[in-house]
């Protein structure tokens, strides 16, 4: 794809129009100071909250206590109560410290700053500005550790179902059953894109995202790198991989080196294929932009976690006439890649890419497991929608119960 002079001219026109628009948008803002009025209202002490109960929050490491109280009789929406202040003291002592202040109308609070196995007493005072009612005290409470968080039983079962289906189909595929996987355009284009680089004698640029190896998207990008590097080693093309994280540099070098060894060309590998630039997001982008316009890669891969720099990279790649294949699980950046790149792997497709490219039955089996998970999600939504619709339209007892059950099944309480 040659960039014609007309395209470059059009690009400059667009930039000039934007610049003129921005210049005309600069306005002067005036700041005005407001002088606080002196408070001349009379002092009003609201009535204390009615009864305070403090309980250990279940299913944690004994680090939180839930406090409930009855609202002050003066808390009737008229503004006589401006909030409630929560105080805490260790049971044997009498030095109450303020833990938090909540808005009027609220009668519950979870204190997450307690220590395990230390007994506490709580006091709640109703506030009117700086004035406070006498505290209403709770009985002593002892935060305790539970071994198992039974609140997460629903998560465990649903997770087991999904994970179980993935593992089942991985094992199932090992038995040799052929699985159909539909074509994914972006992944089918990889060979063509690398071939283009070979024909043009220009390098490939691989960007594994801006995050470190503690992001699963980066790991996905590196696993795809392994597949791409195998083809690159076979075709004997130059691959250029500037990275923004040192651990990614180390992992990428291992990956590419193994690809070259596997292709029987260990001597062709060089550590200079992967180089560290800087951890700073826009410093990295500045350097990669420079690499793109100077080395003019034929193919650019953007596979991993990206933020605002996604559009800068994609547009610069466009300006040098590269084929661009992008993939990310950042929903906010997908529109820019879709708009600016030739092929985009949308979210889930990024994680499926490595399995897809390997063409190994075990890996493809995991894709089937993913599909089962999607089917389960759709079935749950369908069942939930039917139950809540019938419950709202006709009432009864079964469907409202089913609706409540479905919502509780997919809600995490922690």
């Amino acid at each position: 794809m040659d960039i014609t002079k007309r395209n470059i001219k059009n690009l400059y026109c667009v930039h000039l129009i934007v610049f003129l628009f921005l210049i005309s948008s600069l306005t002067v803002f005036a700041q005005t100071e407001t002088v606080a009025e002196e408070d001349t209202t009379t002092i009003f002490i609201p009535q204390s909250p009615i009864s305070v109960t403090a309980e250990d929050y279940k299913y944690d490491r004994g680090e939180s206590v839930v406090i409930n109280w009855g609202l002050s009789p003066d808390d009737d929406g008229s503004g006589k109560v401006t909030g409630y202040e929560i105080f805490r003291s260790e049971a044997e002592q009498d030095d109450f410290i303020s833990v938090n202040v909540v808005a009027p109308g609220i009668s519950t609070f979870r204190d997450k700053s307690v220590e395990n196995n230390v007994e506490y007493i709580y006091g709640i005072a109703a506030l009117n500005g700086d004035d406070a009612s006498p505290m209403t005290l709770s009985e002593p409470v002892l935060p305790d550790t539970e071994i198992v968080n039974w609140n997460l039983l629903n998560l465990f079962f649903i997770g087991l179902l999904i994970a179980g289906s993935v593992i089942y189909f991985i094992a199932h595929a090992k038995r040799g059953k052929k699985l159909f996987i539909r074509k994914i355009a972006g992944l089918e284009a990889i060979d063509e894109a690398i071939g283009r680089a070979t024909e043009m004698g220009r390098p490939i640029l691989f960007i594994p995202g801006i995050n470190d190896m503690d992001d699963v998207q980066t790991i996905a990008g590196i696993t795809i790198l392994g597949r791409v590097a195998k083809v690159v080693a076979d075709y004997d093309i130059k691959i250029n991989m500037p990275v923004a994280r040192s651990i990614v540099m180390t992992t990428a070098r291992e990956t590419i080196k193994e690809a070259y060894v596997g292709a029987g060309r260990p001597d062709a590998y060089s550590d200079n294929m992967v180089r560290y630039i800087t951890d700073e997001q826009f410093g990295y982008v500045a350097a990669v932009d420079g690499i793109m316009v100077r080395e003019k890669p034929a193919t650019c891969f953007y596979l991993g976690a990206f933020f605002a720099e996604s559009l800068i990279l994609a547009e610069t790649g466009n300006s040098v006439g590269a084929i661009q294949i992008a993939g990310t699980a950042m929903p906010a950046q997908l529109p820019f890649f879709v708009a600016a790149c030739d092929y985009t792997l949308i979210g889930e497709e990024l994680f499926a890419a490595s399995a897809y490219l390997s063409n190994e039955p075990k890996q493809l089996g995991s894709l089937k497991g993913q599909d089962v998970g999607k089917f389960m999600a759709m079935a749950a939504i369908a069942l939930g929608v039917i139950s809540v619709t019938i419950a709202r339209a006709w009432g009864g007892s079964f469907f409202p119960w089913l609706d409540e059950f479905m919502h509780r099944l997919f809600t995490i309480t922690n």
Partner: protein, 209 residues
């Protein structure tokens, strides 16, 4: 020396140098790029050194009141990373990598499953009967759109027939999503450049008060 004036001029020069890239690559931009890469790499090394190595490791293990031992695990793993520099024992650097990948996989698996799957499924369970037509249509759009979007992402079935039709509707919803995200961010992107122009014409040239 008035560092503020010098600093403003320096910042203005760098601003113009980066903006010049919009026209073409040039020596001015290369200079700014080189400086940016150098000082930003140095900045992050210093930040890592003081915030991570000193605060999270050294201060914790040498605390006179309550010294911690768990940071030593990170220290040992980090030291193993450096074995990469020695060919004979370089294979040991795979151990901390394996640790990182296993931990990332474990942590993210549950995190994404809760926030992206379970909560989204729960939020999509919406009534079609809401008492108002507009509410019903909106909810129907959300439910049908989510369904069709999920159908688009199915890998193990060809997009043919009714399934293909649903996948087609799914991609329309995805395109609407991308267009909405795109349109939503255009103005905020413009305001970024407004900030720089405000600096150039205001703080540097003093043309705007």
């Amino acid at each position: 020396m008035d560092w503020t004036t010098f600093g403003v001029w320096l910042a203005a020069v760098f601003t113009l140098g980066i903006i010049s890239f919009l026209y073409r690559d040039n020596i001015f931009y290369k200079l700014c790029e080189a400086i940016f890469v150098g000082i930003s790499a140095g900045y992050w090394l210093i930040t890592f050194f003081w915030d991570n190595l000193y605060s999270k490791f050294y201060s914790q293990v040498t605390d006179p009141v309550d010294p911690q031992w768990t940071p030593w695990i990170g220290f040992v793993l980090g030291a193993l990373m450096l074995t990469r520099l020695f060919e004979k024992i370089g294979w040991l650097s795979r151990w901390p990598l394996a640790f990182i990948i296993g931990a990332t996989a474990g942590v993210y698996m549950m995190f994404y499953f809760v926030s992206n799957a379970m909560l989204q499924v729960s939020a999509t369970i919406l009534p079609i009967y809401t008492g108002s037509i507009s509410g019903a249509i909106s909810n129907l759009f959300i439910i049908v759109g989510t369904f069709c979007g999920l159908i688009y992402f199915f890998f193990s079935k060809e997009h043919k027939g009714a399934f293909g039709g649903a996948a087609k509707i799914g991609i329309w919803f995805l395109m609407a999503t991308f267009g909405a995200s795109f349109g939503y961010t255009v103005m905020s992107r413009m305001s970024l450049m407004l900030g720089r122009l405000d600096f150039l014409f205001g703080q540097w040239l003093g043309l705007i008060k």
